[in-house]
């Protein structure tokens, strides 16, 4: 065909016209719009709806507001009106959204597809799952419930359920707090955590309490720390065997030999008394109650300097400063209390508050009111000694007919032999309920998916509180995208099935939480009349400034300083020359949130380490061993060995090897499993001689070079944690 000028021009114009027409048409997909099957409550498409609810990763007192769009949670912020966190959050609260939509959540009820614990599961529906549970529990002669430290109405429902079935309830906490609670009881006669008024103190003397990182209520204390440093700058002295985030923020950081914190505290008290730095009317009664001045004199600085490793002049300086910069506030926690004499260490440290009369006043230790009767504080943990004997009993054949484990992981956290996993082998029927798979749930006979806190009802009484009663509410901010159910609702359903309707006073967690709120505000049984108040409570996220019913502290301590125990360590110092100090890192803490890649990739504040377990060594020690950062060493403890890479840290004392807890999981999702090592699997199962709490910082260790080096996933220097190196660490995709 011959292409003439006219034909060419006509063709060109047609092509241009086609371009216009095609360019004008919107893609077909943009003309489609889906309606919800179930419209999210209060949602308008495209508009944000904010719900106040409990912080998903803190059971102890933070409230958040969650921004939702089209029924989906998008962002977490602090609840600005809530007196504990005052609009602030921490890294764990922010990660609540990621754990909510985590692809590795347990989504449906399951049973083992092969043998128990081999990691293969068969999905069954709730109908079959509940049938199994009801038939087993209905026919059971014995029942035991194992949970984490439940709080509020959920704890109340669990207690009522356990009582209904005549069972036993054990509470597991990976890093145990028993010694702190016992020390508070001994010194102040209080059964709940007092308010340590850090913000108004003149000087804070902290024995191992990492209150800016992992101790107590770090978000509340961080705000208090801001107040401490503002205005007339308060001082902070941190005394501990491994430098924590709080230690790094302190004016003075002091290494004390592990287990000698109590001796150092009494030595400080001795200086205050001997130098008459405080009027004897203030300290006389308290000092007499613990054994008198004669007992204190046994801890004079020149006597204890050798065993504590703290020079005499420094002890005197701390004591004088503690008095000069009133009010002086003493705290205790962390590894200082995780010794075989941990409770005594805690009591001695807290006793310093009595010596300077810093009790019940601003800047001091202030009693907190008890929890409202129907909304309990987090349940106290079963002591490690009890767990150990329970595990031994299980292994010996005392397993209950039905064991129900919820949100707890004793198979991960209980050291010693027989292991909890081995002991569980003889249990006839184990139910595991959790949001994520863990070591204990993974070996259950029936696995139930639990809702995320953003999907379910609950409440809590803040512990520690700020000196007044504070109750927070947890409401669903979104409908669950899995087939999960709330633990409380499952218990209530099962109770009604087996024992009949009305066996427990509530039919759902929503009803139970609302009923307890009615009672809290003196409106029990008012029904619809309570509705506006209830809506307001949920809008605010809680209730506070309730009637203050604080019980005053005991007038004198119930503790005998003369009977203070000496620390004992597993392993002789000749063969095991290091103290093995486990510690919690800020982001993944005890590892309950190790599923979460956001938290896994948050660098430890002091080392910037992410994703793995490491061992902190002093530069001189490392040089003597011939290792540097990244070199893998074997850490031999009397009960086992673990291999971890070294991080050379100038603030690590020469006789200490510090290892973070929380990693080394065998079960769970892609970001939890097979990352790092579990230091709790090798530590000595020693306990506090007075309380039975796990003395998790009392093991001695030997460190050996094994001639292997790895690339360290840290934010500085060596490797690239952003995942664009040759070995990708993180690949995010749905299943």
């Amino acid at each position: 065909m011959q292409l003439g000028r006219r034909k060419f021009l006509a063709g060109a114009a047609g092509a241009a016209g086609s371009v216009v027409v095609v360019g004008c048409a919107a893609p077909e997909r943009e003309s489609r719009v889906q309606s919800f099957v179930l419209a999210p409550e209060q949602s308008l498409p495209g508009d944000s709806v904010w719900f106040a609810t409990a912080d998903a990763h803190s059971r102890f007192g933070n409230s958040v507001v969650v921004r939702t769009v089209d029924g989906r949670a998008k962002k977490v912020e602090g609840n600005p009106g809530f007196p504990i966190n005052q609009g602030k959050t921490d890294v764990r609260a922010q990660a609540g959204v990621q754990s909510l939509y985590h692809p590795d959540r347990i989504k449906e009820p399951m049973i083992p597809a092969g043998t128990r614990g081999d990691g293969r599961y068969e999905v069954i529906g709730w109908e079959r799952a509940l049938d199994m549970l009801v038939s087993k529990l209905g026919a059971a002669n014995s029942f035991q419930l194992i949970t984490s430290r439940l709080t509020g109405t959920e704890a109340g429902v669990a207690a009522a359920f356990t009582e209904l079935f005549g069972g036993r309830h054990l509470v597991h906490e990976t890093v145990e707090n028993t010694n702190f609670q016992a020390a508070v009881q001994k010194i102040f006669g209080a059964s709940n955590t007092p308010h340590f008024d850090i913000g108004n103190a003149g000087v804070v003397l902290s024995f191992g309490a990492d209150f800016l990182g992992t101790w107590g209520s770090p978000v509340m204390y961080s705000e208090a720390y801001r107040q401490l440093r503002g205005g007339e700058r308060g001082r902070l002295t941190q005394i501990e065997p491994r430098m924590s985030l709080t230690g790094a923020s302190a004016d003075r950081w002091i290494y004390v030999k592990p287990g000698q914190e109590g001796a150092l505290a009494l030595s400080i008290a001795q200086v205050i008394v001997a130098e008459a730095l405080v009027d004897n009317k203030i300290w006389r009664e308290a000092v007499d109650a613990i054994g008198g001045v004669d007992v204190l004199n046994l801890y004079a600085p020149d006597v204890v300097t050798g065993r504590t490793g703290v020079p005499v002049s420094l002890i005197q300086t701390i004591a004088r400063e503690f008095v000069e910069r009133q009010p002086g506030l003493a705290l205790a926690g962390g590894p200082s209390l995780a010794q075989t004499n941990g409770m005594d260490n805690g009591a001695a440290a807290l006793f310093l508050n009595l010596v300077v009369g810093n009790v019940g006043r601003p800047g001091g230790v202030i009693p907190n009111p008890p929890a409202p009767g129907n909304i309990p504080f987090p349940l106290p943990a079963t002591s490690f000694a009890d767990w150990r004997s329970y595990t031994t009993g299980l292994a010996a054949g005392s397993a209950p007919d039905v064991m129900f484990v919820y949100d707890a992981d004793p198979a991960f956290g209980i050291s010693g032999t027989p292991t909890f996993t081995d002991a569980l082998a003889g249990s006839p029927f184990v139910v595991g309920m959790s949001t994520f798979m863990n070591e204990t749930v993974g070996i259950a006979d029936l696995i139930l998916p639990a809702t995320h806190p953003f999907e379910s009802w609950g409440d809590f009484a803040a512990d520690p509180g700020p000196g007044v009663q504070v109750v927070g509410y947890q409401q669903p901010v979104t409908v669950t995208w899995t087939d999960a159910r709330s633990f409380g609702d499952v218990l209530l359903t099962v109770a009604a099935e087996i024992k009949g309707e009305g066996a427990l006073p509530w039919s759902s967690m929503h009803e139970a939480v609302r009923a307890n709120a009615e009672e809290l505000l003196g409106m029990a049984g008012t029904g619809p009349e309570f509705e506006p108040t209830w809506v307001e409570l949920l809008r605010r996220g809680g209730a506070w400034k309730l009637q203050n019913t604080s019980k005053p502290f005991a007038s004198v301590p119930d503790w005998d300083a003369g009977a203070m125990a000496e620390p004992e360590f597993a392993g002789d110092p000749e063969s095991f020359e290091f103290h093995l100090i486990p510690f919690e890192s800020v982001a993944i803490g005890t590892g309950d949130e190790s599923e979460n890649p956001w938290l896994q990739s948050v660098g430890d504040p002091l080392t910037t380490m992410t994703w793995i377990t490491w061992a902190e060594l002093n530069p001189k020690t490392a040089a003597a061993l011939g290792v540097g950062t990244g070199d893998v060493v074997a850490i031999d403890v009397r009960y086992g060995t673990m291999e971890v890479p070294v991080f050379v840290s100038p603030v690590t004392p020469p006789d200490v090897v510090a290892v973070p807890v929380g990693r080394g999981r065998n079960f769970g999702g892609r970001w939890r499993r097979d990352r790092g090592e579990n230091v709790f699997s090798v530590i000595d199962p020693a306990v506090d001689v007075k309380t039975g709490a796990l003395a998790w910082a009392s093991s001695r260790a030997r460190v050996r070079k094994i001639g292997r080096t790895i690339t360290m996933p840290m934010l500085e220097r060596v490797a690239n944690p952003r995942n664009d190196g040759p070995e990708p660490i993180l690949e995010v995709k749905s299943e």
């Binding site: 000028r5 060419f8 021009l9 060109a12 114009a13 092509a15 241009a16 016209g17 371009v19 216009v20 360019g23 004008c24 919107a26 943009e30 003309s31 489609r32 719009v33 889906q34 309606s35 919800f36 099957v37 179930l38 419209a39 308008l44 498409p45 495209g46 508009d47």
Partner: protein, 204 residues
């Protein structure tokens, strides 16, 4: 031409014209296309034919015969930017008992049983650069029919207005449709409390 001739001296004038004229035409066509796109984008387009819907929903039965208010189903219209589509659950409020023998209702019931959303085709669509807030218009007493026509008679819902910029401006300039301020001067075309005419009111 002279410039081209300098670069390509061997080509005849006719041959050069074969190069220059098509290039000029294509350039003009492209410029026209861009102009048309800009115009269409700004105006909101033209009236489009009724799309095929997954369920042949009949507005004349619901809004007409049964006098169900628009807001009963389009629940966001009073409070937000979008009028919103009813959820499947909301349809089932009535259709769990009404009209279950009808084939179109059975399609709905199937979606409910499968817990699947209904994928509707949009009838009205404004360009992405336009910010339109339904609630502001409802608050100003603009009836739904002003833009959407009389849906009480519509068996199949289809676009009745182009909703281009001219139509928007027609209403926004028409002070008779707006709430009056008694203090407004008579010769002021744009009353103080009439619909705003600022660009940023509607344009993102």
């Amino acid at each position: 031409m002279n410039l081209l001739r300098a670069f390509m001296p061997r080509l005849t004038g006719r041959q050069l014209a074969f190069i220059v004229i098509p290039l000029t035409v294509m350039g003009l066509a492209t410029a026209s296309a861009v102009a048309v796109l800009i115009f269409l984008g700004a105006s909101g387009g033209t009236i489009r034919p009724a799309p095929t819907q997954p369920i042949a929903y009949d507005h004349s039965i619901h809004a007409g015969d049964n006098s169900i208010a628009c807001e009963f189903c389009h629940r966001g219209v009073n409070t937000g930017a979008q009028a919103t589509l009813p959820s499947v659950e909301q349809c089932m409020y009535c259709h769990s008992v009404i009209g279950q023998e009808l084939p179109e209702v059975q399609l709905l019931v199937q979606k409910w049983e499968d817990q699947e959303p209904i994928e509707w085709s949009r009838v009205y669509r404004l360009p992405d650069h336009v910010r339109f807030v339904h609630s502001a218009h409802i608050d100003a007493n603009v009836s739904c029919a002003t833009c959407h026509g009389d849906v009480t008679q519509a068996k199949v819902i289809k676009q009745v207005n182009a909703l281009n910029m001219g139509e928007c401006m027609g209403c926004h300039r028409d002070t008779d449709n707006q709430p009056k301020s008694s203090a407004a001067p008579a010769d002021n075309v744009i009353l103080k409390d009439s619909a705003p005419l600022d660009c940023s009111t509607c344009h993102k």
